[in-house]
Amino acid sequence: MADSQATIVEAEVQNPELRHHFADMEQQKNAASLGMWLFLVTEIMFFGGMFCAYLVYRTSHFAALAAGSQTLDIKWGAINTAVLIVSSVTVVLAINAIQHGKPRTTINYLVITVLLGLVFLGIKSIEYTNKFEEHHVPGAGFHFTGTFDDNGKQIPVAENEVQLFFSLYFAMTGMHALHMIIGIGIMTTLAVMTWKGRFSAQYYTPIENAGLYWHLVDIIWIYLFPLLYLISRHT
């Protein structure tokens, strides 16, 4: 390459991560962020379909869905909500650290995030184990003998209709857990990439976009927690 050409290229490319079709790093970052948000909108609509199904069946089979919901352990749901909120804080702290050019701190926070994600899945597995032991998993082995506790008044419910609640419960929390597993994979990859020196105060878009994904998964749980665990306690 001729010397003069090399100089021009060097002047244009201030950062090796800047793709040639973007004017500068900020434009590139904003474009990536916009694309991530478009993806998150599809995620909102994806989970929105399940939230909609939940609302429809809660309206049409209220007593049965409430009876199913009352068997869930609020303790585990609340702990998991707190775990996810703390993990969201560690994600923003990881981004804050790389913005200030501290990749070591970023790695630490990403690792804590991954560990908190694993704690969430561990607690979820305890809950799922309980469901299997209680035969509350939809399918041939499903069995439900409880009643709907309407503020002290015991109302009998149809077993099949309660199965509907647990179908929704496993579909929604299962799909959320799958998103957590993917998120843990992404955060682990980013920790390794940060370790290899791929990110700096000038370029950390992948961490920021992974953070957006992680927060959205957090928000979905913020709604799943009251809908599945809380609002059927008293009606």
Binding site: Q14, N15, D24, M25, E26, K29, N30, S33, L34, W37, L38, L40, V41, I44, M45, G48, F51, C52, L55, V56, T59, S60, I74, A78, T81, A82, I85, V86, S88, V89, V91, V92, L93, N96, Q99, G101, N151, G197, R198, F199, S200, A201, Q202, Y203, E208, G211, L212, H215, D218, I219, I222, Y223, F225, P226, L227, L230, I231, R233, H234, T235
Partner: protein, 106 residues
């Protein structure tokens, strides 16, 4: 490190939020989680669901505005996409429920 630059040349003009604000929002979210859990055990009748979902929405808004940096972005396009996501979710839920909840004739 491949990309070790002097941190004075901030390529991005993006507002960096202080750690204090993140911690404050995080603690607020934890308090709201405790509050919504405690309120679930108090009998408020039909208001239990309303209170729980209002608190959930406040928590979601805090996460979106502060953790997801929507409060700090100057990009109108990104804001439009964020709003459109929840707008279409609202259409999905509102129109579906307006159907299912008005089937008394069946």
């Amino acid at each position: 490190m491949a990309n070790e630059h002097n941190s004075k040349t901030h390529a991005s003009s993006e507002h960096t939020v202080s750690v204090g604000i993140y911690l404050l929002i995080g603690i607020t979210l934890l308090i709201l989680t405790g509050a919504t859990t405690a309120i679930a055990f108090v009998n408020l009748g039909p208001f239990n669901a309303a209170v729980a979902l209002t608190i959930a929405t406040i928590k979601a808004l805090l996460v979106i505005l502060f953790f997801m940096h929507v409060k700090y972005t100057h990009e109108k396009m990104t804001r439009a996409v964020v709003v459109s996501g929840f707008f279409f979710l609202a259409i999905l839920l509102a129109l579906s429920m307006s159907d299912y909840m008005t089937r008394a004739w069946r």
